[in-house]
Symmetry: C2
Subunit: 219 residues, 2 copies
Amino acid sequence: MKIGVLGTGIVGRTLASKLAELGHEVRMGSRDAANEQAAEWAASAGDGASNGTFADAASFGEVVVNATSGTASLDALRAAGAENLSGKLLVDVANPLDFSGGMPPKLSVCNDDSLGEQIQREFPDARVVKTLNTVNAGVMVEPAAVPGDHNIFVCGDDDAAKAQASELLEAFGWPERSILDLGGIDAARGTEMYLPLWLRLFQAAGTPQVNIQLHIAGR
Amino acid sequence: MKIGVLGTGIVGRTLASKLAELGHEVRMGSRDAANEQAAEWAASAGDGASNGTFADAASFGEVVVNATSGTASLDALRAAGAENLSGKLLVDVANPLDFSGGMPPKLSVCNDDSLGEQIQREFPDARVVKTLNTVNAGVMVEPAAVPGDHNIFVCGDDDAAKAQASELLEAFGWPERSILDLGGIDAARGTEMYLPLWLRLFQAAGTPQVNIQLHIAGR
């Protein structure tokens, strides 16, 4: 499949590399077509790897992954172009972390809204699925790095899009039983607002390679 | 030990009953000394159980538990009186859930502040420990109702107070290994902002008897 990955940071590169390893043709998009990290990535990630602008990557992809910084995601998606996202699964893994006030970061949107919802509202023809934002890049593509039956969440208004996103998660190594559907895209408020706890769990554990498992009475 | 429990809702009654079962003398406090739920509770909970105003309960307790509604907690603690909280462990289990806009509730404070921090700031001589707010009342006092090695968090600026709170948690049935110290009272931002995710986990599970376990790479 052709996949556009927006974002050249550690999350974008990690996801793009895993998708290329899995045999997908991947185009990494950035604000500037000459972005060095994207060019280096494309040069090292095999025949199916390429890079370009956000619009190049989004128009290339049958599926688009938003791996930009959360505070820059809406601008990046505007640059990608609504017409290049229309009808496509848009996997949103970004967190609206605002580091401008120092550590710990705050969320630039929360409580009565979320980045996932903002994206779905602004791009109503994209099929947005919020997922993977509750783990770090390494765990996203290698869940077995963390022991135990820990969970990953999917939120979105389109069930077929969530099923397609779940197939990608399974290809990344997430067992089907680990994937929890939390409902509509408004549930992104829950997974994004988990970040302040995630940051403290990371600090307490001494490693960002952590995740949580849901336990349910009677199961 | 003498313990004051502020709040007459399901959380307050559940905690007060468990503490009485464990042999503590418990006084339940409410805004109105004639509160029916508190009087009924005191009449049914054995010899060491009593009820009164917030100030009665706080002055009675060597330890005070804030189990009021989060949006009412500061007012309840003002009524309890700073002089009746001074130097004492104040176990804060409340969540600042605001149901005024319907479901799902929003948080009345979050992101750059938390209820736990507000309480510690307003009552600097109280030794505030935020804990138990990430599970429902039943799980608070019977963690084994949920299978697995799930975790409970403690946050607070006073290590001795956190140790004392942890002893109470262990008496409730939380194994020592399950109790995670997340740092200062500012970490209450993390555990309070987890509530929107908890609500979705509850919905997905079909029961509020849920909790999460932290898994860490290499452990």
